[in-house]
Symmetry: C2
């Protein structure tokens, strides 16, 4: 164990283990998580080479092997609880993704929810036994979020009682679905349904794409891998071109909408049910943000405690880089953010489960708010985490660029969350739509409830450009409740500003739609402020649940840092709105410096509490024992370019070069 | 040609070709650049597979081949002007790096500048004929920017007249030098010189590391590749462990310092000369920032003009995504930044050459200012570009994640500039040191000249927290000269704030050094504001040189957008300092929206003017003809995972899985 890191742990003022329980949601959950971890880490079947040393094809190969292995292991151990499966898979996959993920996350769930009884009888046994391996093919090369724009057609032919599936253009080729390129032999294809000369919009069809025995693509199917990406090298995201492929009528998923044998179209009763899955996945992504950021902070903070560099006082030994104020300023606000997002992730999961219960009882009343919240928070947390990972990486100096640090992997595997499951800007605008609608309702005299109830005060004409100094100053920058209030007011003011911008555009004879587009910058800003308020509020609320005094104290410091750091980085908003005055903003900056010093002795303990196992982190910089350099050397020596002492290029190009000159 | 992009070009209000001349520095330079481009692009010897389809070893192999090829071609064509060589190499290397770069950039120049006459006679012919291929080994695993911390030792043994080189610890292993791992047979090693029992600090030694014939590592040399990185996969960054390696006394570079045969150490006369190279490379990096950002903007803006998505007005066809205000708000400020940095890059190059002349004449007076400026601007431009590339990538939706977009490559090849040649935070603090020193001189009554002369006004006690509204308002947000002034004042105020923070810390009984560290956040902020001011000023100055009315008009719009966007993103600074009042900040936001609309018709033409050849961009999204989708499909089909229809993993893992269940 590195002596620096031992000393850091001795300096901690709280019980790390107890904080881990809080993060896991209780002692029992921590215990179970560790049981599952040790199952995976002691299992010789999951021993593997660092994927960074492998070619793309080898990486995919290794990932398929692990996917197949996991299926067997989970059955062997009888692990069936979704959360435990998720935990098990996370351990196996480390910083990478699962080759067969879409089969479990999209193919099976879609069959479960959209097959009629007869279809269930046929398809579920096939899919559950992996005879049918599947994916979900929605996005096309030319079309992403806008479902109405999808071009793939499914035209019903009553003569043969078949659908003819077709990719009429290059831009209509299905593009991106995970597992589509090489792994799947079936795809649920989303296509515009045509029957009896009419288009009935998007519907789902089960399309066999490869022979179930030979795995060779079927006639009319052009399928393959979309090529190397920024990350996700384990996953064969694929393309699918359909050239008049015929499937039986029964392959349309018919639990809701139907096409009768004669071609008569029967409408679905309601569209609200698919809504829930989206909300669920976006809520999960909030938790993913917390995980990625807490991993990155763990690596950067542990490394900063063992790395010595330059000098603060001349003549003294090189200090730990964590002693530099600039390093603390980079990392501690992110550490606070990782805690904030962890608690927000917990909240989203709990809320989802609570509301799911209501939905099953037919009560959809809370769904719109959760939908808006999950969209905005998905964008807010992934954007923050995305840039935060890079700050962590760059705070590690040169070694952050080495794949041995794991930070490049964490980044490239995480960054797609900003785009998939709802592109972030689109998400922010969806939340804004809900906020503006709520604002208008409040203005019209309706009493709002829930998290947007702060808009009830909108009647008071808050936004008047007025001298900042003229405002009364009631904010206590050391009091979290007071800071929650000020974030709330900022959100209210920015929602109002956006709503007024739309109104003004419409007064300038713009259509409702153009007015919306011309106010989009303000709308995104309003959503961002709303989400920021929610995060500060939920972090503060969480403190109320924590009984342990020492932990309460350190988490309060983190929460305060989170709130105050958000104020400095957005100080213009608070000053413009007259919520803070200039001396207060200066006080905030000064207070932040104090909080950095205050957190310094607890920094390593605070990342330890996330309890990311070394094998999960897979980072030489983030090792628990702090023994960075010897392991970096060992890792480098295993690198494939060192397989031979003399690379063949010397004989091929360098030696001949001399004689040519 | 895609009809959308044709239309975009028809809408341009200025002559693209003429703007290209301005960016290149004149018609003649554009002509010559295009000649060199066509030499490279028509040369069948440089045809190659997309490196993204290759393994690490294949990528390195291809890069060595190209490096060797380039040496022969440059001789064949008689290209000898450093700028033309740079241009030629840029074309060949595309978005990637040169395997043998360090031989040219560090090994040869160090020999030229630090060999004594006898050493020159021996080493220059060897190095120029590539018998000796070399690199520059300074950084160690445990030591980066702080040169005094380096641990490698060179101990003189008068008995044999040799130096004994040694890596006494794991952390002292040389780590990161480009070309060290596999390519070089010599390294210039920086080591602490010991002779006659005394340490004389860092000196440079020529160390043979591989046999010049067989390329096998020499006894006592442990050398290899440091393993895969975030980018730079073409380059064999290496490690070097020296186990009591003996080299003759004559292998110490002795132009300045010397060790006599008996071990007597002779001091060098002055240390100022190495200073210049650092300044030169940092100035070059400013230009690299402009190039990387202009490439990224080219890709994102062209793609946004052919990509159709969602709807603004219901029922109408999907609009070009460049019509969304949020998309414009992401991309146009970055486009303005790319122009700003291009002009700053030109300025830095010219200034360097001017001052170099002075230095050769023995006049060092302007060097400290240029040193401070190049450090700060290196950090300022690389940080901005680093995050800007990612904004461009994410603005391309899903396809931005595909390696076919080239954006991931541009990012990973660029991001190390934030760390190498001076870690950015360290750079900002170096600039801050110069600013604080200048501030103190001004306060002491000295009259400053040059770019920091604005600090002369420091005597007037500017920073008094006072009500914002009470300040007189003289800023015209539509007038660039007025905005330059307001940026200048912001810089002056933040420099003063940082200086006062140090003073206050010292009053609290902190040592000078601790006071500095406790003010580091303010110091970085001050440097940032200084650099921001310089960029706004240089962009504005450049406009004065432009005679063409149409070009002047569009560049003025860009400059205004650059300046105003900087104000909104830092509005807190301007409000706190009372430089702008609240209504003005609202006006700035409104004005930015107008500028976005104003730039919209010229956006594609403005990126066309950068004149990045398709073969250099190597991006399916950024193609000049806008024919994105067909080429993306073609690219994907060439991907190695599509070499076979059925991947071996099916037979190995997936088929057997079924029978095991």
């Amino acid at each position: 164990m590195n002596p620096d890191i031992i000393k850091e742990r001795q300096n901690a003022t709280f019980d790390v283990e107890k904080l881990t329980y809080i993060l896991d949601g209780g002692l029992e959950k921590t215990k179970r998580r560790r049981e599952i971890e040790s199952m995976v880490f002691s299992d010789p079947d999951f021993k593997e080479e660092d994927p960074n040393f492998l070619s793309r094809s080898e990486r995919y190969d290794q990932a398929v092997r692990k996917s197949a292995q996991m299926i067997l292991k989970l059955r062997e151990y009888g692990i069936a609880d979704p959360e435990e499966i998720y935990c098990y898979k996370t351990m196996v996959n480390g910083n990478h993704h699962e080759a067969m993920g879409l089969h479990f996350v999209m193919f099976l769930p879609t069959l479960y929810s959209q097959c009629d009884p007869q279809q269930s009888k046929k398809w579920l046994p096939l899919a559950e036994s992996f005879q049918a391996m599947g994916t979900y093919a929605q996005t096309e090369m030319g079309h992403g979020t806008h479902l109405r724009g999808l071009e793939t057609t499914a035209t019903y032919d009553p003569a043969t009682q078949e659908f003819v599936l077709n990719s009429p253009t290059i831009s209509s080729i299905k593009w991106w679905p995970g597992g589509l390129g090489k792994t799947s032999n079936h795809a649920i294809v989303l296509a515009q349904l045509y029957t009896q000369g009419n288009c009935h919009g998007l519907h789902a069809f089960i399309v066999p794409i490869r022979d179930m025995n030979t795995h060779v693509p079927l006639p009319g199917i052009v399928v393959g891998d979309i090529g190397p990406k920024f990350g996700f090298n384990e996953v064969d995201n694929g393309f699918l071109k359909l050239e008049n492929v015929r499937i039986p009528r029964e392959n349309m998923l018919m639990k809701y909408a139907k096409v009768e044998p004669d071609g008569t179209y029967v409408k679905p009763p309601s569209a609200k049910l698919t809504y829930g899955t989206m909300v669920f996945i976006r809520s999960l992504i909030v938790g993913e943000s917390a995980r990625a950021l807490s991993k990155s902070c763990t690596i950067a903070i542990r490394y900063s405690s063992v790395r010595h560099q330059s000098e603060i006082r001349p003549g003294e030994p090189e200090p730990q880089i964590l002693d530099y104020q600039t390093q603390q300023y980079k990392l501690f606000p992110l550490l606070a953010t990782a805690y904030a997002f962890s608690f927000v992730g917990q909240y989203m999961k709990e809320t989802y489960h609570r509301i799911s219960g209501d939905i099953n009882d037919g009560d959809f009343s809370e769904l719109p708010e959760l939908h808006a919240l999950s969209a905005g928070l998905k964008a807010f947390t992934t954007w923050t985490t995305n840039s935060g990972i890079e700050v962590c990486r760059m705070s590690c100096g040169g070694h952050g660029y080495s794949r041995s640090s794991a930070l490049p992997d964490i980044y490239v595997e995480f960054t797609p969350t900003c785009t998939y499951e709802g592109e972030n800007t689109v998400m922010m605008l969806q939340t804004a739509r809900y906020l503006v609608k709520s604002y208008r309702q409040a203005k019209a005299g309706q009493q709002l409830s829930g998290i947007v109830s702060y808009l009830n005060e909108a009647k008071q004409h808050r936004v008047q450009p007025q001298p900042v100094a003229a405002r009364p100053t009631v904010v206590d920058i050391n009091d979290l409740a007071s800071l929650v209030e000020v974030y709330k007011q900022r959100a209210a003011i920015l929602v109002e500003l956006a709503a007024k911008s739309i109104q003004q555009e419409m007064q300038n004879r713009k259509s409702q739609e153009d007015a919306w587009n011309n106010s989009a910058i303000d709308l995104v800003r309003a959503s961002d402020a709303h989400c920021h308020y929610v995060v500060v509020k939920l972090f503060t609320d969480k403190l109320g649940e924590i009984g342990d005094i020492a932990i309460h104290s350190v988490l309060s410091t983190l929460a305060l840092l989170y709130a105050l750091h958000g104020i400095t980085t957005n100080s213009g908003d608070f000053l413009q709105a007259g919520l803070l005055n200039v001396p207060q903003v200066h006080q905030v900056s000064a207070r932040i410096k104090e909080l950095l010093s205050q957190l310094r002795p607890n920094a390593v303990a605070l990342v330890d509490a996330f309890d990311h196992h070394d094998k999960k982190l897979n980072s030489v910089l983030g090792r628990y024992d702090g023994n960075v350099y010897e392991h970096m050397f060992e890792w480098a020596r295993r690198s494939p370019l060192n397989a031979t002492e003399v690379h063949e290029s010397f004989h091929k190009y360098l030696k001949p070069l001399r004689s040519k000159l």
